[in-house]
């Protein structure tokens, strides 16, 4: 399979992963008054007590990292496709790919560190 066809397949699969985990995230964070799930401390979902309770959970820590990777890949690959459709010269197209890859890796490192460090902090409290 050609490289871009493989990347496109990953883009679609990442979309399905995002649909599941971002759907769950949105339900927890923004439909709390209707559904009231995974906010054991009560109050608002972003209250520190709820953040700690979710941070303690291995399920939430692992799925945050999966969602982080899937969303970064899906979003940055989508942005790359949009930019390449504008027909940049070859050198610029390659540069766009490299810059977006580095941006993705940087944000993944930050987000994954935050998820693991938050889990460590929450379990130590």
């Amino acid at each position: 399979m050609m490289r871009d066809a493989k990347l496109w397949t990953w883009h679609v699969l990442a979309g399905v992963v995002i649909l599941v985990f971002l759907g769950l995230h949105m339900a927890i964070m923004h439909m709390d008054a209707i559904l009231g799930i995974f906010n054991p401390a009560g109050g608002h979902p972003v209250d520190w007590g709820n953040v700690v309770e979710r941070g303690k959970s291995v399920f939430f820590t692992v799925t945050y990292v999966i969602l982080l990777g899937a969303a970064l890949f899906h979003g940055l690959y989508g942005l790359r496709n949009i930019l390449l459709e504008l027909n940049p010269p070859d050198w610029l197209g390659k540069a766009i790919g490299i810059v977006l890859l580095l941006v993705g890796l940087g944000f993944f490192a930050l987000g994954a560190w935050a998820a693991v460090a938050a889990h460590t902090l929450a379990t130590s409290l």
Binding site: G23, M26, H30, A71, N87
Partner: protein, 145 residues
């Protein structure tokens, strides 16, 4: 052997925005891209802001205090609505990509239904789903809180 050199994207960004004589799905395509770019921009900022939870309760509270207020509530709702649209339209796109919603191939004997006509109910269904999620989200954001 003839070699295709591709078609240059002469219209550039206007090619997205101007649907021309294309149908309803063309505008869904444009909106899918716009919401995708908006969600990506928000997501990168969201990673930075929410990373403060790994530092201390004070750092988390300070970060949340900086993104609180009516303007942020409206902004967050727009992100939620963009998610609802992008997700529902994404389901439609995956179903079409997999060939599950394009109908069976038929002999093109006039008058025939085009593939777009076959897909249209799915597009309408996806938008109804997005609208339901947006309304429920609106209730949660602006009425129940």
């Amino acid at each position: 052997m003839l070699e295709s050199k591709g078609r240059p994207n002469r219209l550039g960004l206007w090619g997205w925005l101007g649907g021309g004589r294309w149908g309803y799905e063309r505008y869904l395509y444009t909106l899918h891209r716009l919401t995708g770019l908006g969600l990506l921009a928000y997501f990168l900022l969201h990673i930075i802001v929410t990373s403060s939870r790994a530092i201390s309760p004070e750092a988390w509270k300070a970060a949340m205090d900086r993104v609180t207020g009516p303007l942020f509530t409206v902004g967050e709702y727009l992100v939620f609505a963009a998610f609802a649209f992008h997700a529902a339209n994404g389901i439609r796109l995956v179903l079409i990509e997999l060939g599950w919603a394009v109908g069976k191939p038929i002999e093109p004997v006039f008058p025939y239904r085009t593939s777009v006509d076959v897909q249209r109910p799915l597009a309408i269904g996806a938008m109804i789903l997005a609208a339901i999620v947006m309304v429920l989200g609106g209730l949660d954001f602006f009425v129940l809180h």
